[in-house]
Amino acid sequence: MSTISTEPVRPGRASLLYDPKIRGYVYQLALLAVVGFLIYSAASNAIENLRAQKIASGFGFWHNASGFDVNQKLIPYDASTGTYGRAFWVGLLNTLLVAAIGIVLSTFLGFFVGVARLSTNWVVAKIAMVYVEVIRNLPLLLQLFFWYNAVLKPLPNPRQSIQLPAGALLNNRGLYIPDPHLGPGGSLIVWAFLFGIVATLIFRHWAHKQQAATGKQYPIGLVALGLIVLLPLAVYFVTGRPVSFVYPELAGFNLRGGIQIFPEFVALLLGLTTYTAGFIAEVVRAGILAVSKGQTEAANALGLRAGPTLKLVVIPQAMRVIIPPLTSNYLNLTKNSSLAVAIGYPDLVQVFTGTVLNQTGQAVEVVAITMAVYLTISLVTSLFMNIYNRRMALVER
């Protein structure tokens, strides 16, 4: 018998053309070259075009006088002294305001509708289903037009304002609510309220620890009620009722006094809230359905009623499924708030990408800043939600 060679067979040296490593380098270099060329040609074209159109570049416009006014502003700003930079902050704060309120409201409405869709009550479930199907299948812009043009615009003029409870007035210039003025000692009430919230949080933390250690339960709800509602009320009466309200009143053709909430804001908030709530409802429903039926049955077997079952057993487990898509819905709401430009609510896009861009013509800078803002908001939100998600995630061995 001839000896069998034990030497490993060396693969023949393949052509460089077929070496996956080399090929990878070539592909990547080619892609880099193409992208680099695109960027280079875009930049050189932009420079040439801007020079031809005599448009300045750079961020020098930031401190230039803007010369336009904005109706809703959270920081002092007016047409005579305002700069483009100031207008940017006004717009950004308006965006954040509507997004923050919209997120809170749509979460409540969405959870409510989502749970209602799974209700054993046939009528409630069907109405929730119709709501979700209609809201989700219509463009948000159409809904905003509906709220703004078909609901809020036809309201009566200020002279025939609709009287709402607590002295609020509603007309086609917006919603007017009484303006609270704090007298001497009034700030104590605010402090008492803040103290109440902090104390409630501390108490809740302590109560949960106690329950985990001893099994004894404490009435968190009652304590919270006392600290957050009754304590400020008590302070209010002790300090001699220092809060006075300035009620909106008719003066000429308009209302004077009170806080005016602009119809654009109301329309945008209504539209965003109802729209996003439809999506959150589906997320919640999917999350609850993801919790196996055995969990509910086990809770029932332990003697828990429907409410506590939902609150203590189903929702905490459903939250793990709910949170990631909920985050993206929050982000969508924030991004969708840019539709404000269609109904004239002075958000970042309307003020900055609209008016400032038109006045300065510096498209590249303005659009880049706007995009950077939204990107930052997206990244920060996902960061926070990831942290929260990690805390809620199932802890396994």
């Binding site: 875009a42 932009a46 009550n121 409630v124 109405i127 989700r136 299948n137 078909a150 706007t370 995009m371």
Partner: protein
């Protein structure tokens, strides 16, 4: 003994026959019990039911009255829909929708040329049915039609003019040349065989020239047929140029949606593959593009396309007003599509990749033949959902001044011809019906696909 027992107990009653089965008591079965269990099982539930019923009773008859009973169905101008003129309460003014329907569909497209839009609608409908209908024959040909032929045909028909005719002529020439080459090639073995003697060539016996010619070459043939038809149409009737500024209405809405679909799928696949690639630069660039586009609102992308795109190209190439938002929408849709497709790629078991590699397939063959067909199939519902979002988002082009369907409605609302108190409610209702039917239809389709895909898991 047994006899004695019965005698001893003459009063004992023994039933000899089975009783008829009784209906369940009303409290546990039947409609009444259902109502009690589902609607009035407790005080809270009862309250909720009553509240909901109240809402329905108050709103539904009012809506029916407004949109149907009191509605005005015919008329020439606003007088038909004014309560003072008609002498009765007036609800929705459907006469206005009927009057402006042409405008809603075609925008300001010249009336004599609207047949071109109709043909494009028909081509689009054929393409959609071909793609979506599960049992449709020749899916590959359908793909080619939807992603290559239909866009070219739509471009030629909608725009018209010298550019379109040149494109048509070039397409015709290219497909003719390709067809000729294929025809010659498929006859070559036959000729060679007859020269050398048929026995020397196995391939001759296997397939007739005709059969060999069809196969992959039918794409070329099909393209040839479409181009010839278009060419005949163009030369016999003529296709004068219609500027994009005149396009509008549902035409533009469907156009934007179609462009989004046609471009987002291939680019989305490439981006998804890039994001999953092991080559760091390709991966990085894909991730940057996807996350950047997904992190900003569509409006800013549209603003960018509208204001920055003309700056980035040489002055003489300055893109058309309609083309700019189309680029923005295509980019936007591609990024979202990439994430959906990535989900499908990640859901593929590793064995599929390894199996493909062990067969000796290279990267592209593996993706084309093994991975993508399976991955795309399982994400069809996600793709359709992206399309629903895309379809709703087409309305945003309104903001950069394109006359899409919603904008045409807004435009007619300020027109004094039909200015009545109820016109706005009617116009928005019409828009709502249009968008609802389209989106709801798509979502039904996606649900049916989901069911079909899940059929394998069911027992």
């Amino acid at each position: 003994m047994t006899d004695a027992t019965t005698e001893l107990a003459p009063y004992a009653f023994v039933r000899k026959e089975t009783l008829e089965q009784q209906a369940a008591p009303l409290s546990v079965a039947g409609p009444l019990a259902w109502v009690r269990n589902n609607l009035f099982s407790g005080p809270v539930n009862t309250l909720l039911t009553l509240l909901c019923v109240y809402i329905v009773v108050v709103s539904v008859p009012e809506l029916v009255r407004f949109y149907f009973i009191d509605a005005v169905w015919t008329g020439a101008n606003r007088d038909a829909c004014l309560a003072e003129k008609v002498g009765r309460p007036v609800g929705a003014c459907w006469a206005y929708v009927g009057d402006r329907l042409q405008y809603f569909i075609y925008g300001s497209y010249p009336i004599s040329e609207r047949w071109r839009v109709n043909i494009v609608f028909a081509l689009f409908a054929i393409g959609v049915v071909w793609m979506l209908w599960n049992q449709a024959p020749k899916k590959k040909l359908g793909l080619f039609y939807f992603f290559v032929l239909m866009p070219i045909a739509a471009y030629v028909l909608l725009l018209g003019g010298a550019g379109a005719e040149r494109l048509l002529r070039n397409g015709l020439i290219v497909s003719l040349v390709l067809a000729a080459i294929y025809a010659v090639l498929s006859f070559v073995p036959q000729l060679v065989g007859s020269y050398l003697g048929a026995a020397n060539l196995a391939v001759v016996r296997e397939a007739s020239p005709l059969k060999r010619f069809s196969g992959p070459k039918q794409l070329v043939l099909f393209a040839l047929v479409v181009f010839v038809l278009l060419g005949l149409l163009a030369s016999s009737i003529g296709l004068p140029r219609v500027d994009t500024g005149l396009w509008g209405g549902m035409t533009v809405t469907f156009l934007i949606a179609a462009v989004g679909i046609v471009f987002s799928l291939p680019f989305g696949i490439l981006l998804a593959l890039g994001r999953r690639s092991k080559l760091p630069i390709i991966q990085l660039l894909s991730v940057i593009f996807i996350e950047f586009v997904r992190g900003v609102p569509l409006i800013t992308v549209l603003f960018m396309a509208n204001t920055m795109l003309p700056l980035f190209v040489p002055q003489e190439w300055s893109p058309d007003r309609l083309l700019r938002p189309l680029v923005g929408v295509a980019m936007f849709a591609a990024a979202y599509m990439a994430e959906v497709i990535r989900g499908g790629l990640q859901a593929m078991p590793k064995g599929q990749y390894e199996g493909a590699m062990s067969l000796g397939l290279g990267y592209w063959s593996m993706m084309r033949l093994i991975i993508l067909p399976q991955a795309l199939r399982i994400v069809i519902p996600g793709i359709v959902n992206t399309f629903i979002g895309l379809f709703k988002d087409t309305t945003l082009v309104t903001i950069v001044g394109i006359f899409d369907f919603l904008r045409t409605i807004e435009a007619t609302l300020v027109d004094p011809t039909w200015a009545t108190p109820t016109t706005r409610a009617t116009g928005y209702a019409f828009a709502a019906i249009f968008y609802f039917l389209c989106c709801w239809g798509m979502s039904r389709y996606s649900i049916s696909v989901e069911k079909r895909l899940a059929a394998g898991q069911k027992r």
